[in-house]
Subunit: 299 residues, 2 copies
């Protein structure tokens, strides 16, 4: 339980409600900043303004999945007011406090670093990335069904990269009855693909291997779908790029060639906000619990 | 090959293009009625008006998947003119001619019956229904992803009926990682569900079995999701009804209870017109080929 632990939520979207619910169930003391328009109420959970006083008592500060922008602005869809994290806020935090977010921009990392406050990036964790790969794969499947006139079943789908997201996606597409090929670099990834019953090839041969593809899914955050590769794609094939912005596709050339190419980052929050929220909730509650135990605060 | 066989297409949508292409490749003599706005052209394929002359030479007439309406109107998305099949048209057909469609309304069956012209309903065929269940299942998956805030993976999905569509859907959902339950009546369906690794229950216990469901998929064309059953559904669950109109759901009561319920018939043509067209094309070409062989017309 988190009895006596002070948790401050600073902005966020529907996903954050799952995190609030979870920490509420664990009996944390919760203050919500940037939730003025939230209808739901929890007994004992207070709404607060962004002030140094509130932050000076925080053991943990939970930011949205996207953290802050480059100037400290924090997204808060349940508030009509602008939230901006400033140095005075971070300076007010107790020395043992931690800041939790999905991904941190340099603005946040630098500001917290200056005051010795650790920033925990949840999406960096392997477990969170693997759990998140499930809604990502389902979102990719939805986009594929919406944007093709064929079924995924019986189609040739190529997944580039078989990391945390690529592996889930390859398994999902195979489950739907697609003919799945995966582009890999490492021998152990080649072996994993063989074990899964999908067809691996080395990404050195990407252009050649994509000549008969229907749907290309990229998960590699580097320009792998270059103009030279896209030139080999059959007419009517499509590219769904799941890598973080700016993706791994030469979108300019794809458009010129008439190949539909879509950059689709951040699918979990879009297609399954509740599941995505629970993933964050489980990870963050476990971390705060571990932290509380270390400090002897766990009751 | 279908050399010398006269095939008349009468209306249709994008799916029909696949059928035209297939019969064109088989060298049939093709006349297209209701395709005036079609850009694509095939050498030797003629566009024609709906006249007795054209029909008097037809060995096979191919109508759209939905056939005619109750008054003989034929859908033709590649034409701005209204097409209406009248008795004089059917009367003009040679006695050996056959009419092919997906489903026939009584209007069409009666009219052709009166003149001794067989109507072949392709969607009645088991093979066509099984092939069509693939795009239906993918469409159902798309709707489920779009209309829930959770992933299918890890959710509890109940499929009512394990016929041609239900079986495909159960397999597809299992492939996505759902916890799949199927409501069945017959012992052999119970056994098939066990073999597939999904959890069967008897539909007599539907209300009880749906208490923990996230997504209900109905494939049974009878009112199975009654008010009494819907009353047991947990809040936030949704119903996707794949049975032919009017479906198997008490939609009025579902709305009153705040349960989202969607009737989604005709998914193959919506989510995968090319695949759906190929399914029709394969079935119809095989049938015409068999017919031509019988009549000694196959070269």
């Amino acid at each position: 339980m988190l009895t006596g632990i002070q948790v401050v939520f600073l902005g966020g979207d529907a996903r954050q409600l799952e995190v609030i619910q979870k920490l509420y169930e664990l009996d944390a003391n919760i203050q919500l900043i940037g939730f003025d328009n939230l209808q739901r109420s929890y007994s004992g959970v207070r709404k607060a303004d962004l002030t140094e006083e509130v932050l000076s008592e925080a053991d943990a500060v939970i930011l949205p999945v996207v953290g802050t922008d480059d100037t400290g602005k924090v997204e808060a869809i349940f508030s009509s007011q602008e939230l901006r994290l400033e140095e005075r806020h971070v300076a007010a935090l107790p020395k043992h406090a931690k800041v939790y977010t999905g991904m941190a921009k340099p603005f946040l990392t630098n500001l917290c670093g200056k005051h010795g406050i650790p920033v925990v990036e949840l999406l960096d964790r392997d477990d969170v990335a693997i759990y998140n790969s499930i809604p990502t794969a389902e979102g990719a499947v939805m986009i594929a069904i919406q944007n093709t006139d064929i079924t995924i079943h019986g189609s040739t789908c190529t997944v580039i990269g078989i990391g945390r997201t690529g592996l889930t996606l390859a398994r999902t597409l195979k489950g739907l009855g697609a003919n799945v090929k995966v582009g890999v670099r490492r021998n152990e990834h080649f072996a994993r693909a063989v074990e899964m019953g999908v067809t691996p090839f080395h990404t050195d041969h990407l252009a050649k291997e994509l000549r008969d593809v229907d749907i290309v899914f990229n998960t590699v955050p580097a320009q792998v779908l270059t103009a030279g590769v896209i030139a080999q794609l059959p007419p009517g094939s499509i590219i769904i790029d799941l890598a973080s912005k700016p993706g791994g596709t030469d979108f300019r050339f794809a458009e010129r060639r008439g190949i539909k190419a879509m950059l689709a980052p951040g699918l979990p929050g879009m297609v399954a906000p509740k599941t995505a929220g629970r993933i964050i909730a489980n990870a963050v509650s476990e971390l705060i619990l571990t932290e509380a135990k270390k400090r002897g605060m766990n009751r």
